[in-house]
C-alpha cells in the first residue's frame, strides 16, 4: 500500500511526454491510474518515473470524423458512457464503458489507459475487438495505426512499444447493426468474469455478418471466430447453438471465484444473451 520511490513528471505536450518515455527506460504512463497505481501500491510495479498524461491538451474528446467516431485516449469512461454521439453512432462502446468498475473508476479511468493495460478481464478490449476499432499510437518516430484485432498479444501485453503513447481510438459507425455488451460482474473488482460484445448485421431473417468478442475468459479478450462462423449466413434461430462455441479453442482462466468449467459455461450463456439482447434492441 506504500509504493516504492518514484519520480513524477507532468508534461504539457505530447512531444515532451514522448521525450520522457524515450529517455527513461522504465517509465510508466499514468492515464487514469486504475491499473498502475494499485500495482505500485502493492509494489508489483516500481517504475522509476511516472509520466502523467493528464495535463496534455487535446487527448480528451469524442468527435465524428467521416464514417468513424474518434475518441481521445484520455477520455474518461464516464464521458464515453454518456456520449450522445456514441449513443447514436456506436452504442456498443458506450454500453461497455457504462459497465466498467464503479462511478469513481469511470470518472478517472481512460480508454487509452485501459487498452494499454490490457487486463484480461477489462471491458474495453472486448468492445474494440467487436468494433474492429483502430488504435492510434505515436512515438518520436511517428504515428501508426494498430488494428484492435492485432493489438492485444497476451495478458497485460500489447503491440504497443515502450516509447509509444496511445492518442486516440477510432471506431466505426454502427447504425444498422445490432449491438450489445453483456457482462457478468465480479462482485469485488467489478471486472468481467465474462463479458461479451456483439455486433451483427442482419439480412432479412438471416445473419449477414457477426463480430463477437469475449473478455474475462481467456488470457486476453478474443474474437470468438467459431461463434461468428456458426452465425454467418444462418437464420436468427441458430444463436443458441452458435453460442455454444463461445470458448472454443480458448485456454480458459480459472480462479477461486469461477472455475474454467463454470467460466466456459458462462461464456456460452452470456454470448447467447448478448445476441438476444442485440437482436431485441434492433427490433428483430
Amino acid at each position: 500500500m506504500i509504493p516504492a520511490n518514484f519520480d513524477y513528471e507532468s508534461p504539457r505536450t505530447l512531444s515532451e511526454a514522448l521525450d520522457l518515455l524515450a529517455s527513461r527506460q522504465d517509465a510508466k504512463i499514468l492515464a487514469g491510474g486504475h491499473s498502475l497505481l494499485p500495482a505500485m501500491k502493492l509494489r508489483l510495479a516500481a517504475p522509476s518515473v511516472v509520466v502523467d498524461l493528464g495535463r496534455i491538451a487535446g487527448l480528451n474528446h469524442i468527435r465524428e470524423s467521416g464514417d468513424r467516431i474518434v475518441i481521445g485516449a484520455m477520455t474518461p469512461h464516464a464521458d464515453v458512457a454518456s456520449s450522445k454521439i456514441l449513443h447514436v453512432a456506436c452504442p456498443l462502446l458506450a454500453q461497455a464503458a457504462s459497465q466498467i468498475g464503479d462511478v469513481q473508476v469511470r470518472n478517472r479511468g481512460t480508454i487509452g489507459g485501459s487498452l494499454a493495460a490490457a487486463h484480461p478481464a477489462a471491458d474495453y478490449p472486448a468492445a474494440v475487438l467487436a468494433l474492429d476499432a483502430e488504435i492510434m499510437a505515436v512515438s518520436r518516430s511517428g504515428e501508426r495505426s494498430l488494428p484492435a484485432t492485432k493489438f492485444f498479444t497476451g495478458m497485460f501485453t500489447t503491440e504497443l512499444r515502450p516509447d509509444e503513447i496511445i492518442t486516440e481510438v477510432r471506431v466505426p459507425r454502427t447504425e444498422g447493426a445490432s449491438v450489445a455488451y453483456k457482462k457478468f460482474h465480479h462482485p469485488a473488482s467489478g471486472y468481467a468474469v465474462v463479458g461479451v460484445a456483439v455486433r451483427i448485421k442482419k439480412a432479412g431473417t438471416r445473419i449477414d455478418s457477426a463480430a463477437i468478442s469475449i473478455t474475462g475468459v481467456g488470457h486476453i479478450a478474443y474474437r470468438a471466430t467459431a461463434v461468428e462462423n456458426a452465425l454467418r449466413g444462418k437464420p436468427l434461430g441458430v444463436i443458441a447453438e452458435a453460442a455454444a462455441h463461445a470458448a472454443e479453442g480458448v485456454e480458459v482462466l480459472s480462479d477461486y471465484y469461477a472455475s474454467a468449467e463454470y467460466r466456459r459455461h458462462l461464456a456460452t450463456v452470456f454470448t447467447r444473451r448478448a445476441l438476444e439482447q442485440a437482436l431485441e434492441a434492433s427490433g428483430k
Binding site: 506504500i2 457478468f184 462482485p187 469485488a188 477461486y256
Partner: protein
Amino acid sequence: MARNGKANGKGNAKLAAVWVGKKLKRKEDPRLIQGTSHYTDDLKLPRMLFCAFTRSPMAHAEIRAIRTDAARALPGVVGVFTAHDLTGLGMVPCAIQMPGLNLPPHPVLATERVRYVGEPVAAVVAENLYTARDAAEAIEVDYEPLPVVVNMEKALEKDSPVIHQQFRTNRAFTHALKNGDIQSAFKKADRVVKQRVINQRLAPVAMEPRAVLGEYLPGENRLTVWSATQIPHLLRTQISVMVGLPETAVRVIAPEVGGGFGSKLNVYAEEGLVPWLAMKLGRPIKWAETRRENITSTIHGRDTINDLELALKKDGRILGLRVRILADMGAYHQLLTPLIPQLTALMQAGCYKIPAIDIEIQGVFTNKMSTDAYRGAGRPEATYNIERIMDVAAHELGMDPVELRIKNFPQAKEFPFTTVTGLVYDSAKYQESIKRALRLSGYDSLRRRQKSGWKNGKYYGVGVSTYVEICAIGPSAATPAGGWESGTVRIEPTGKVTVLTGASPHGQGQETTFAQLIADELGIHPEDVNVVHGDTLAVPYGIGTFGSRATAVGGTAAYLATQKLKTKMARLAAHLLGAKPADISFGRGRLSGKGSKKSISFGELVMAAYTARNIPAGFEPGLEATHFFEPSNFTFPFGAHIASVEVDGETGEVKIDKYVAVDDCGNVINPMLVDGQIHGGIAQGMGQAMWEELIYNEEGQIVNGTMMDYALPKAHLLPEFTLDRTVTPTPVNPMGVKGVGEAGTIASTPCVVNAVCDALSVLGVKHIDMPLKPERVWRAMQQAQASAQLEPQPNDTPSSSRAKRGISVSEKAARSKA
C-alpha cells in the same frame, strides 16, 4: 418512550419524553462527513517517527536468520527490531481462562517460528513512512519451511503438523454444554434431521484500519497511546502490563474510530510494541495498518464447521438437538478467541423450546490468523445453525418453515424463559414478530409466486429467520474483564452538561443518543449535552463498546448517574424554594415546587450549586455524579426476517428480491440510528451469505486478500429493506432498552441462505454452503438435476419432491444423502 421503571430511578419525578424517541440527526455526522474529524492516522506530533513491519510470507516455518544490515543502512532508518531486541516487553494477551485451555505464548514479534502469513517478524522505525516501508522490504529472513495445516479436520488428525509442539496436538480446547436427556430424545424421535453447515472465515474490514501512535515523556513518566480501539481502558491496563509501566503512567486515547465490528475489541502486538519503541527511542512513533495488513493480520471472524442433528416428532415438536462444532482459532489466541464459540453454545437453542441439548466444541489451531469477535461473535453461528436445521427439518417433514417455528416458540407468558442452555431470556413476543413479518412480506403471495414460478422453470424462494440474540454484555460473572459500565454526568457552572462514558463508541452514535437520554432527564436541549469518551485520563474506568452493550449498560450507567444528580438538585431546589425535596419537579429548563407556585430556572439552580453561598447544611457543592452499572442479566433482542430471492437457473446468480425485517430491541432512543444499525447489520449478514469468504490455500496463503478480490456487500447489490419493529421493554435496566448493534447481521445470514435453498428445494437441493457464489449454486443445481435423471420421479409435485434427493453442496462440492 414508555419506560419500565422497576429496576431503578424511583423517586425522581418523570418528565414526558421530548427527545427520546426522536429521529434526531447525529451530532457526529457533520465532522465525519466533512472530513474535519481526527482519526489516529491524522495525528502528527513533533519529531514523530514511523513504524512498518516485516511480516511472514510463510504460513509455517522456522526462522533461521534475519538479516537487517541493508535495512539499517538506508538513510532515515532510526532502528530495526526483532524478537531478540524486545527484552522486557510482554506477550500479546488472551483474557480467557477455561479448564483445559491450551494457551500458547504469543510473542509480539515471532521468535523461532512463524505460524501464519502476516505474523510480524521485524519492526522498522524511520523518519518517514516511505523509508520505513522500504526498510521493511529490505530485511531478509531465512525461513526453513515447515508443513502447513489450514484445514481443521486435518489439523486434528494424528499425523498432522503440530503448530505448538508443547501441546503435542492442535486441539486448543474442548467445551461441552449438555442438558436434558439427549439419548431418549433421539430414541423417541419420529425424525432425525442431519446437516453439516460451514460458517466460513470472514475479514471484518472496518473502514478505518488499525492505527497506533505512542508518545513517552520521560520527565513526567507519561506514556500516551492513541489507538483505534473499542476498549481504551482495557487496552490501558494491558499496555501497562506489556510495557512495564504503572497503569497510572499510561493514558490511552481512542480518537475518532472508524468502525470495528469487533476487530478493535482486542489487544494487538502492535499496540504493545509501538508504545514500547516510543519509550526506547524517546520519540513519538506512529504505525498505521495498510489494508493488506488489515486483511492478513487483524483478527478474522467465524470459521467453524458445524454438524447438526435435530430430533423431532412428526408433528414438528423438537425433542433434542445435538451439535458438534470445530472452531478455528488460527495460530494463536488473541484477546477473546476461545470465548467466541462458547457464545455459540449458549445461544444454540435460539428462540425455541428444546428439551435436551448436547453440544461439543473443539477449538483447533491452524496456520492462519486468529479468529475473534466479529459482529455478532458466536451468535450468528448459533443462529445460522439452528435456523438452517429448522428449515431442513421443515422441508423434510413437509411443513411450512414458519409453522414449524411457531410450533416450537415459547409463549409470551412463559417469560422470563429459562433455556436448555441455562440462560434466562428476559422478555419476548416471538409470535408477534413473525406475524408482522408474514403480513409485511405478503408471505402467502410470495409462496404463490414460487409455485407458479416452479412450473415455468423459475426458481423463486422464500427464507425465514426467527432469531433471538444476547446483548447488553453483560453481567460481570459471565465476562472475562467485567461486564459493567461507568457513566459520569457533570453539570458545568453554565448549565452545560458533560457526560463521560466508558462505552467508547466507534460509529454507533452515543454522542447523540446519550445526549437525547440525558436531555430528557434534566429538561434541557441535547445540544447542551456533550458526550465525552475514549480518553482514559478524562473518563472513569470503563469497559467499551461491543456486544450491543453501549446503550443498555453504558446508557443505563449515565442515566443512573443523572438520577443521583436529580436527587441532589431537588434537595437544593427545595432549600431555595422553601419546599420539600419530594415535591420538586423537573420541567423544561425549570424546577418547581408543589403546584408550581415557586420555581427556579435550571441555570440559576446549577449556579447556586457552584457558588455554594446558599446551600443546605451538609450539601456537597458542585454537580457531578458517577454510576458504575452492573446489569443483573443479559438482554435478549429478537425478531423475524423474511427474504425472497430468485435464482437464475442458467448461471446460479442469486437476486434478492424482497427483504422484510421485524426487530425488537426493547425501547428505542433514536429510531433513525436503530434503523441504521439494522440496515448495516442486514447488509453485513447478507455479505456473509452471498459474497464474503476469506480463502487460505493449502500453503496457508490468502488467495483473495485485496479489495479487488474480497467481495464486501455493496449498495447496488442489495435490495430495499422493509423495516418494522415491535417494542418489548426489558426489565433488566430502567430504560427498557436491549441493544441493536448486531441483530441485523445475526438474522439476515440464515434468512438469505434459507431463501436460496428453498428456491432450489424443488430440484432436491437440501443445503448449499456460504457464500452462495453463483458457481456453487449452479453446481448444486447441476448435481440435483443429474441426480434427478438417475432417479426419475415424473409425478413429483414440488412439495413432495422436497428433500427426497437431499443434495448438499459444500466447499468441495461434495454430495451427501440425507
